[in-house]
């Protein structure tokens, strides 16, 4: 349960309901992916389940009209907040025209889209970190007030690009937010074998900017710290590193079996702290999420997911020869 009072954070009832809506939408889309995958309809799933609070809380604190995000492959919650629709997402899952991320060329979860201000991402992890720094550098050079947000997992935080990007941003005091979603596992390898210091936010001291390790299951806490980081960035005070501690409730991907490396008891215990359940309870306790509103929201999300699935399933594929286009500029 969140220890924060949403009103003290300057959030309205409508805004917190909206946060909950995006968390639930991400979860329901993700659950549908697994059904479609097991039914043999889509080849691959990579999940956000368990990390929706970390994603929605952070991106809610940004300005989607001027900021850029360079998310990683689990960040379904982030891209929904930045404007991607259930249909966009399903088109991507089915690799069909209408996929704004890659037009069917990349696996799902490789987000992007200029109109949504989402930089294109790839599979080699943490390569997006320097890209966000570059976007921030451009903003600084042009005197714009925009912030660049980029995220990754704790395992991926070991890549050289993490360090190179953080140091570069520190030297130039760039408006960047580095966000680590620490879910405890890099596929099968636990924290103990990934990090000498389990708190990745501690690294910020070494770069010379602030770092915060926060409760990634508390959407309001994620909002609060990202909001502060965005304000710092906009004021020219430079980057911030945030580690959101969370848990991945499902296997790494549709091709993984997590029973090989973690106990069912551990996963069950984590489900008790599922950020969607705890935030729903928080909102009920505050009298914000009434039974009527909850029913209405569940219905509208179910409808949106169903319609997006149907639309994507019925849509045609690109022509095979389309694979030959857009290698270089086509004049």
């Amino acid at each position: 349960m969140s220890k924060h009072d949403y009103k003290e954070l300057g959030l309205t009832e409508e805004q917190v309901l909206n946060m909950y809506y995006f968390m639930l939408l991400a979860r329901k889309l993700d659950e549908r992916f697994w059904l479609l995958n097991r039914a043999g309809k889509i080849p691959f799933v990579i999940s956000c389940q368990g990390q929706e609070a970390a994603q929605v809380g952070a991106t809610f604190a940004l300005d989607k009209t001027i900021d850029y995000i360079a998310p990683y492959y689990r960040d379904l919650g982030c891209v929904l907040v930045f404007g991607q629709t259930p249909t966009d997402i399903m088109m991507s899952a089915f690799a069909k025209p209408g996929d704004p991320n890659s037009h069917g060329r990349q696996m799902p979860g490789h987000f992007g889209g200029r109109k949504y201000r989402i930089l294109s991402g790839s599979s080699p992890v943490t390569t997006q970190f320097p890209h966000a720094v570059g976007a921030a550098l451009a903003a600084k050079m042009r005197g714009e007030k925009s912030v660049a947000y980029t995220s990754t997992g704790e395992g991926s935080s070991n890549q050289g690009d993490f360090h190179e990007a953080a140091n570069f941003a520190a030297v130039h005091k760039l408006p960047v937010i580095f966000y680590v979603e620490n879910n405890g596992y890099a596929i099968s390898v636990p924290l103990d074998k990934q990090l000498g210091n389990h708190n990745t936010a501690d690294r910020a001291v070494g770069y010379g900017f602030p770092g915060h390790s926060i409760d990634g299951n508390d959407v309001l806490e994620c909002y609060k710290y990202t909001k502060e980081a965005a304000e710092r960035a906009r004021n020219g005070e430079g980057p911030t590193l945030i580690e959101a501690r969370t848990y991945r409730l499902v296997p790494h991907s549709s091709d993984d079996d997590d029973r090989a490396y973690r106990s069912r008891e551990e996963v069950e215990a984590a489900k008790q702290k599922d950020p969607i359940l705890t935030f729903a309870q928080y909102l009920r306790d505050k009298g914000v999420l009434t039974p009527e509103k909850e029913q209405e929201m569940n219905d509208s999300i179910a409808k949106a997911v169903n319609e997006a699935t149907d639309e994507a399933e019925k849509a045609p594929f690109f022509d095979p020869e389309d694979a030959l286009t857009h290698v270089y500029e086509e004049r």
């Binding site: 890659s102 976007a135 921030a136």
Partner: protein, 327 residues
Amino acid sequence: MAIKSYIEAVTDALREEMERDESIFILGEDVGVRGGVFRATAGLIEKFGEERVIDSPLSESAIVGVSIGAAMVGMRPVAEMQFADFIFPAYNQIVSEAARIRYRTKSDWTVPMTIRAPYGGGIHGGLYHSQSVEALFHHVPGIKIVMPSTPYDVKGLLKAAIRDNDPVLFFEHKRCYRLIKGEVPDEDYTIEIGKGDVKREGTDVTVITYGLMVHYTLEAAEVLEKEGISTHVIDLRSIKPLDKELIIEGAKKTGKVLIVHEDGKFGGVGGEISAIIAEEALFDLDAPIQRLAGPDVPGMPYSPPQEKFYMLNPTKIADAIRKLAEF
């Protein structure tokens, strides 16, 4: 028209482009106050300020990765790798990111970025200041690779690279920087990337080459002329895309082809050129296609006699042409 050195042509192109377009900026190690370890960016920080001529941390992957991000949102970065030998920490950013961003978004995002890197040997640089690295990028769709030999070509091609809407690797031969001088027009001009140039017309043997080897080949051709051997010299100028038309035309013209590059032979650019000729002009040939290239060892030794042994020179090239002419 003024006589300029190869490196002066680099500086001129950078300065003129930066004057023309405010979105162009330079990013690299020692490029600012020092003006570059070779002085290619000399005077630019004084003219454009440290905002546009950025002394970056010693961090090649960040230099390229940050440039990619800036390019995606509308800037036109010119990143400098201090030596081509040090480009490998940025290999992932170039190959997995810059080369594929257009493709993986169907041109929704693009990377109009130039990466300049001094390459090549014969300057007592040992294993890690002498390399030719082009073959390691040649295979990769989505990038262009330019390797000019003359000051005139440097200016026109560097301007074209900076204006190009795709990532361009611009390799400058270190030995050429002050050795090679030539006429460079003061006015603005560009040379199309992917177009080679006949640097000498000939009828007996066609040499296809690029970079410093163009000059060594021209020296060899002078000597051979006195022996009655006429050499046709093609300077590719860009190796990606390759000027297939000029290659095939050159092969058909003399029926005898020698491909020359400083880089190692195995898996080098010469193999691709040879394959193009074999596929498209085999029956016009009067002799097997020959390749003269660096030895397949991991690097150029620092020891002066060994460095000399490693490097090609006009004598070695003349010998190879003579042998082919006599075939």
